[in-house]
Amino acid sequence: MKKIIGLAIFSIGFTALSMQIVLLRELIGIFYGNELSIGLILGIWLILGSLGTGFFARRINFKKPEEDFAILQVLLGFSFLIGFVLTYAIRFFTKITPGQICNLNILIVYTIFTLLGLCLVNGILFVLAIKIFTDDTKNNTKGIARVYMLESFGAAAGGLIVSFFLIPKFCSLEIVLILVLINFIFALLIFTQKKRIFLGLVNLICIFSCLFLFRYQAKINNLLLNLRWQKEQVLTSQNSVYANITLTQTKDQYNFFYSGLFSYSWPDSLTEEGTTHFALLEHSHPKEILLIGTGPGSIQEVLKYKPQMIDYVELDPLLITLAQKYLPLHEIFKDEHLNLKFLDGYLFVKNTNSKYDVIIMAVSHPFTIELNRFYTKEFFKNIKKILKKDGVFSFGVISSESYIGPELQKYLSCISNTLKSVFEDVIFIPGDQGYFIVSNQKNILTYDYSILLNRLQERNIKTLFVREYYLKDKLNKEKINYSLNRFKENIKNTALNYNFYPRAYWYDLIFWLNQTQNRLAKILNIISPFLIWIIFILYLILVFIFLNNRYKASLLAIGTTGFSVICFQMLVIFCFQVIYGYLFYKLGIILACFMCGLGLGALILAKKECFLENYEKSFIFTQIFLIIFPLIIILASFLIKIKNQFILNLGANFIYPLISLIAGLMAGLEYPLINKIYLEKKHSITDSAGLTYAMDLAGASLGSIFCIIILPVLGLYQVALFLILLNLITLINFYLKKDKI
């Protein structure tokens, strides 16, 4: 019997993490997918999970644990389905305007609504599993460790299989149905073992209805898409390893939504011409051109200049596949001068040996840390290296023609200052979509519209927008001076933007919040490194005063471990993202390795007696490791400086997963150790497991939100220092109070 339950626990770990990945992708698709949103979603997930284990599980009295376990597992399957459908029904329930980006209040409420059932059931199952495995005797830390291990290994397997096998092959609905089926089948196994015929039959019906849904998934998928997009006519909605891409049609216009966010439409000559022609006209003879993520319409514009070579870099091949399939643009993709390159723009710029006359970039504004990499000093330096002597680099930014407010000012002057720290000459063309154009040499760029106009006529280029009538208005001196003065006013207040100190991302975040929740924007505006360190000192004082015995100190340790480990995990993901970019693609491996580490930690405890016997020493040992760990992350971040492809691959496929595994290992070791210390007091095992697990998760959820907020404020190095000090305090506090009972 225990074997089946063990397998069932493994399956729960497997399906729950898989579901987490699938649902996270769906939720990112309906909300604004920046790190703050993702952090909030994960935080809510963890809090609800801790509610399930810490609050509900302790209050429910299970009379027949095995059967209850199976019933709960069926419920878990249903909660997957409900959660999934709810992500599509957001407009139906919240009545938000089509095309409106949800603010964080809606995100929080709706995410709780979506995840509530799933997380509670999952949390209760965890405690129940421990109960089945331990028979509620005091010295059964191994039981806890085994459950922890099985769940973690399941989760690791889930992370890998979903990311690499299920997502590229199946649509989200199919994946969810597979996960639900797995849960139903394990429940059925338990029912048959226990000879519960009625429950087994009910379960069988569930399984068949699930298969029925599977049979008609295409139709259901269409229904769901209509529910989400309502009035939009969806042509196709496909998953690539990077994101979901939805293509809609309104009349003769095609609209691309990347991860649920509008990215561009076709035809749209206004944007396409603005993106390309300003830069191309600023250069006297553009022949070799690099385009980074500009979209197919811009290629068409660049081809008008009859260049010798266009390199077009795009991360996601699916975007181009869809463009080729649906847009009438077959000719441009056949052009012999065009080279399509499907890889991350940052890596291409860093590694290429070609040199260009003009580089045009049109990636989204830095609303995620991944995108922030395209606006950093390091990136601009790499661009400088691949520009020819008289080369020109240009990209668009959100701006405003008539008024630049304090938040927009900070954002734009941060980018402007970063550019100025690298390039000789920087000019700005104002507008609601502004353009920065930079060059390595002085006296190449000009605001004089007659020169640009001459070039346009000499080259005999036909345009709708960038021509005599608009150039004059766009290059209006008064407006240019207005923008430039606004950037200048703020020169002292804004830091430069670096890879590991993403300031532009931070200013963009505040600018965005200003549009949806300006109170929160005001609070974030106050946060500064000084404030964070003051709060830290206050925390320190409180810790030393109030946590005055070994149990409390150990509870704090589990809390800070949860906190630190999630921060480590986020720092690892952050560094990985900065260096490699393709986050969602490899996120599965990193998460899986983390889970593997958790399981491994528990396994070590289960097998190695000495570890548990000297639990106090073991605990201190793991705590010391937590203190060292941030240094390892910083070391690994230096991979960004390396050009060697072999070492880079080694980093992505070995070093980062390994670091993630070690982080998990620490958490996995520490958890049962603390339980042991905590169990010295007369708590029952479910009680203790519930409370410590709840502390762990509460620490983790706090950490996930905290880390996202302080990372752009402090930068990687200060956050690492923060974590080192935090764990040092926990250790010292425990050491001082370990003899107090």
């Binding site: 927008f465 009538y469 208005d473 004082i541």
Partner: protein, 383 residues
Amino acid sequence: MIDFFQKQYTRREFLKKSCLLGLGLGISPFLFEIFNKRKVFASEISFKKEALYYKKIDTKTVECQLCPRHCRLTDGQRSFCRAREPKEGKLYSLVYGLCCASHIDPMEKKPLFHFLPGTQVFSIATAGCNFRCKHCQNWQISQFGPEETFNQDLAPQKIVQLTKENRCPSLAYTYTEPSIFYEYMLDTAKLAKLEGIKNMYHSNGSLNPQPLEELSLYLDAANIDLKAFDQDFYSQICAGYLDTVLNTLKTLKRNKVWLEITNLIIPSLNDDFTKIKSMCVWIKENLSDETPLHFSRFWPQYQLRNLAPTPTQTIEKARQIALDVGLKFVYIGNIPGHPAESTYCPHCKKIVINRIGYSILENNLKEKGNCKFCNYPIPGVWS
């Protein structure tokens, strides 16, 4: 964690801890104060200019009479538009002389196509707005109070002086909703009129009849946003009232202010052609078939950033509907290079003003605004 509070403390221990806790908690508000004081804003608001249209309800409460919202306010409460606040029983305009945006724009950008074509117009705005449009283009000033924006101190005299210095024949009150800086606009308009400068305003039309009548005395032209012909749209997307806007249109027409109308078509929100048709019929019946109507293309903005731009075909269809209803001057905005940017003579169908974007390529109007080819009088203010 719960046993924190269950433990019996000795008296000394208890005192020690409470003191420390108090100290810790006591410091934090001061810290927040310190950080809050780092003001990034350029100007302090002041209670200098008393509002023109309001009534006293009792000693403490006043009611603003400027727009249909009729905000009832007591000391310390800010009006819905964020530009007005009472103090000691009097209502004040907080934005008087606090200009947050001043630029020189082409007249075609306002857009006014039948009013001094090809000239430059000096345009000003202050912070605040009595609407909450989710697609606002100027949300950085319209959705904030004057204490949150960068402002310049520009008295009405100074504005008129700048207009003259920059050789602009007209002055525009625009970008945000000008009615919320009514007193500022009125004083400036009076001065401008004395100096021979023409006044125009671009408004959402949400102004009560009485102040509107007074303003009309000084206005030469107006462009009113008729955002949709549908109260639901006004309630859900803009937080405004359709009735008042329609009244404003009629009043302006009656007072012989040159009037043009802008309708921004947003996909899936107000692109219903039957409603567009009834709007056009209303314009024809209540105003005139010679009122220029601009159909403008929506661009993802502010809170509606996740909506794709309006397809050209939708706007072309709307224009065709308006022409079929019998409106004579229907334009398309925000689509550069579109033939419907030009003015066509309703009689001989030839191009009388050929426009691309904000530039005028040719002007085939005689001095008093008659068509060069067939002498048909094109309505408008031409000199």
